[in-house]
Subunit: 262 residues, 2 copies
């Protein structure tokens, strides 16, 4: 399980200001801290970037690349920003992401083909609603798989994001238990070792005690790992959660266990 | 997932002394602390009790029962001690346990029938070796299931213990990853909702940093929970592990999530 930091979010006021002023320092500082904390990928959540999308995404990608060479996830629904980011990235980035929403199929998915990059597909209905059950999620996975083939992108490029439900949602925990089964069954369903990614922070969205939220993500992350999750997108500054993730990897991935791996 | 305390071990010098002197106070004190810490079952690990097995097991059961009415696991390979414990227990105890070892099939398993109690079956070869792979564990589960039926005990009485491998064993982590699959598949294999129990402390037997050992069990426990483990037998004084277990239950078992459950 690879750890991707979800910390670079332009909705954060300090980062929004840095972007407005084209000031790389606060972003560089954040990214360096993410790498030190254990990030193996950086998600650049730029939001829609309605004004000057190309220039701003180029700035973001260049700024992050100036301090690290880990893979980047380009997290925007703006195709212009995305294209600029893809053209600017030195190392192959991952598009985050597309869904069965017509505009995404038309504007985002072809960029993965054009730049021959990995792309994350969300298990969401075309209009953005979250499916309720495992069967519905599996059906959407098949639809994403077919959509990828339709643009002649190699299916290996598709990384599935099952969209973790906040526990506070009605049936949220039931959905999250089902998501474990979906992750486990996707390789059989689609016939290849499908990679998966999940945004762990989603789990505890909304009200709740901070310590209990941490505890909940520390309990859910090993379940995701044991189900075969490839990439955990999380707040990389949750040090204990990162330690738990490393323990999961020592249990599940290391051919020879050593305490030094933890 | 129910939490059973593995703390009452007569190999502990203070408890050995209390048993020798038939002094209930240290045992009562320990058991009270276990219950306060979250124990929902108490494993009485009496060892072989070679001298005065009946008298000593009666004393142990009576002493524990004097301070709690949670179910007891009677953890001895001595059939005389076991029979005395079964006769003394007020609430139905669980026999911990039997294996395909001939002496256990002959002397221990019939006691479950006689006292109509639950009994734990270990996924071990007849001579006590630990099987290496998932298939071997499944075969032994079938053999235990058949043995239970042979003494006309209702198969629902069988609780399977897959025997967690210490991570420091050769292929230990590989075995422990396989055990997750075994736990998940047992209900399909045996055709009923098989209950399972696992001794979590086994995972970190041997050398290793204490904090890292805790981290490892906190990572493995949610994997066990997500696989459907019914009872976790653990050191109930590992407070953070107990909190993680409660978070697992809130994620997997509570029909309506509330923060108060954690």
């Amino acid at each position: 399980m690879i750890l991707a930091a979800d910390n670079l979010q332009i909705t954060h006021p300090e980062l929004a200001k840095a972007l407005d002023e084209m000031n790389p320092a606060p972003i560089q500082s954040l990214v360096k801290n993410c790498i030190t904390a254990g990030a193996q990928m950086i998600d650049i959540n730029s939001g829609p970037l309605t004004r000057e999308p190309e220039r701003k995404m180029r700035f973001l990608v260049e700024t992050v690349q100036s301090v690290t060479d880990v893979p980047l996830l380009l997290d925007t629904a703006n195709p212009r920003a995305l294209a600029a980011g893809l053209a600017t990235a030195i190392h192959p980035p991952i598009i985050n992401g597309f869904s069965m929403e017509p505009v995404k199929l038309e504007k985002i998915l072809p960029l993965a083909k054009k730049y021959d990059t990995d792309i994350i597909g969300y298990l969401l209905y075309p209009h953005g609603q979250v499916p309720r059950g495992e069967v519905e999620r599996m059906e959407i996975a098949v639809a994403l798989f077919e959509a990828v083939q339709k643009v002649s992108l190699c299916p290996d490029r598709l990384i599935i994001d099952p969209i973790i439900a906040p526990v506070l949602w009605e049936n949220g925990t039931l959905q999250d238990a089902g998501i474990l089964n979906v992750i486990r069954r996707l390789p059989d369903l689609l016939g290849y070792p499908v990679r998966t990614i999940a945004g762990v922070s989603n789990l505890t969205t909304g009200r709740g005690n901070y310590e209990k939220k941490l505890l909940l993500e520390q309990a859910y992350l090993p379940m995701l790992a044991a189900s075969g999750l490839s990439v955990a997108l999380l707040n990389i500054f949750h040090a204990k959660t990162v330690q738990v993730a490393k323990a999961c990897n020592a249990l599940l991935n290391d051919p020879i266990f050593t305490w030094e791996g933890i």
